[in-house]
């Protein structure tokens, strides 16, 4: 699912609410029928829009560290992803470029068999090659009908092929939501053009 909207539309806030990083001012948030809690985080893989990795750790170290906290961690998938993303396990995170660090964070999230994957602006500020690698990684690891992947982005054009469902957000509200194919057919426009028209 694509969560689309300009900067400040509430994409990150939505993800933080799901994870329990923020508490709602009104109403309730339930994820898999439960309030956000540490137990819920076992079912959610999250990639922040920020650089959250420890620069003093090596790639292999952060993979090992993260793997110890999740029952759904898949070691073979993790090794495959590191290979696929072109990541050297012996390289220090502090020595990697922004694009490579994003690849590490994506690899950490996709190495799990999580029911829900939240990717907050994963394509922002990184080079084309890294963006393509991340997209390919997502397609390869996605478990159809077994897991949900929510990607928030304002780089709609490149991410459009990834979306089954889309929700357009503006000023904290969903202004249009639906199946991507249905929306294309109904409005006779691509999601990118719809995004332009709706949020202009």
């Amino acid at each position: 699912m694509g969560l689309l909207g300009p900067n400040g539309s509430g994409k990150t806030t939505f993800m933080k609410l799901v994870l329990g990083f923020l508490r709602p001012q009104h109403g309730n948030v339930t994820v898999f029928g439960e309030r956000p809690s540490p137990a819920i985080k076992e079912k959610i893989a999250y990639v922040s829009e920020l650089d959250t990795l420890y620069p003093w750790m090596k790639v292999g170290e952060i993979v090992h560290f993260t793997s110890k906290f999740y029952k759904d961690w898949d070691n073979s998938k993790s090794s495959e992803l590191l290979d696929f993303m072109g990541l050297d396990p012996y390289k220090k995170i502090g020595a990697l470029s922004k694009g490579m660090r994003t690849r590490v964070r994506i690899a950490l999230a996709l190495s799990r068999r999580a029911d829900l994957v939240l990717l907050d602006d994963p394509f922002s500020g990184i080079d084309l090659l890294s963006r393509e690698k991340i997209q390919d990684g997502l397609i390869q690891t996605y478990r159809y009908k077994e897991q949900s992947v929510i990607i928030s982005t304002h780089i709609v054009k490149e991410a459009e092929p990834l979306f089954d469902e889309v929700a357009f957000l503006n000023e904290g509200e969903i202004i249009l939501q639906g199946n991507a194919d249905d929306l294309r057919e109904k409005h006779k426009k691509t999601i990118t053009d719809l995004y332009r028209d709706i949020l202009r």
Binding site: I40, K41, E42, S48, T52, Y54, F65
Partner: protein, 237 residues
């Protein structure tokens, strides 16, 4: 398992402090041995200075470690893990405690060595006495960390003027502790008096004191540390 992994991460993060800091303490403690022209009161103060400095410096270090998690955004990585507040607070506390313990133990060992060399004897202070002194000493910096940790977390819980809230919280806690200390002394009045030997320039000086104040301080610090474990779960990112 999760606690262990987080603790290993914290200790790895602090390994430079543990290694280089310990070497610096050792290097510093050699000074009173090399400077043979110093009179006894001076070298004794010189040798004991690290113990006092460490007790205060570790408070700044503990707050800085927490602040760095927020500044480097790694707090989002930690908070996205399926962990409870006590995992974060206790592992951070243990890592800082390891630094205080290693520095102060090294300082005390050196102090004993210096006395043996400069005074020609350890003035009757046995390793057991030293261990007792060390444990007593730790009852100041470790509970004090509870004050600082809770104040920092309280500041983080506030949506605005986080630093001001932290500072105000710290002053309030100190004020509360002072106001409650009379009650605290009574609470621990049942504790037997402790006899401690102190090395002075004239040799060994033995005295006894009531540990009720220290015990209350430790209890207060412990309660604040436990409170920090709950409060950190209220922090919004």
């Amino acid at each position: 398992m999760r606690f262990k992994e987080l603790l290993i991460k914290e200790l790895k993060q602090e390994r430079a402090w543990l290694l280089w800091g310990s070497l610096i303490v050792c290097g510093y403690e050699v000074l009173p041995l090399i400077k043979t022209d110093l009179h006894a009161p001076y070298w004794l103060s010189l040798a004991t200075a690290p113990l006092i400095i460490i007790a205060f410096a570790i408070q700044a270090k503990a707050v800085n470690t927490l602040r760095n998690e927020w500044n480097s955004n790694s707090v989002q990585l930690l908070f996205s893990l399926p962990l409870r507040g006590y995992h974060f607070v206790i592992t951070k506390f243990v890592a800082q405690a390891a630094i205080v313990c290693s520095y102060s133990l090294l300082s005390l060992i050196f102090l004993l060595l210096i006395c043996k060399i400069r005074l020609g004897s350890t003035a009757g202070v046995t390793p057991i006495e030293m261990l007792k002194c060390w444990l007593l000493y730790l009852l100041f910096p470790l509970p004090a960390m509870g004050f600082f940790t809770f104040s920092y977390v309280a500041g983080r819980c506030s949506p605005y003027v986080k630093r001001l809230v932290s500072v105000l919280c710290l002053f309030t806690l100190v004020y509360l502790f002072v106001r409650l200390s009379h009650w605290g002394y009574k609470l621990f009045a049942f504790l037997p008096k402790l006899t401690v030997s102190v090395i002075t320039v004239d040799g060994i000086s033995t005295g006894s004191f009531s540990p009720s104040g220290i015990a209350f301080f430790a209890l207060f610090g412990f309660v604040l540390l436990v409170s920090s474990c709950f409060a950190i779960e209220r922090v919004e990112l």
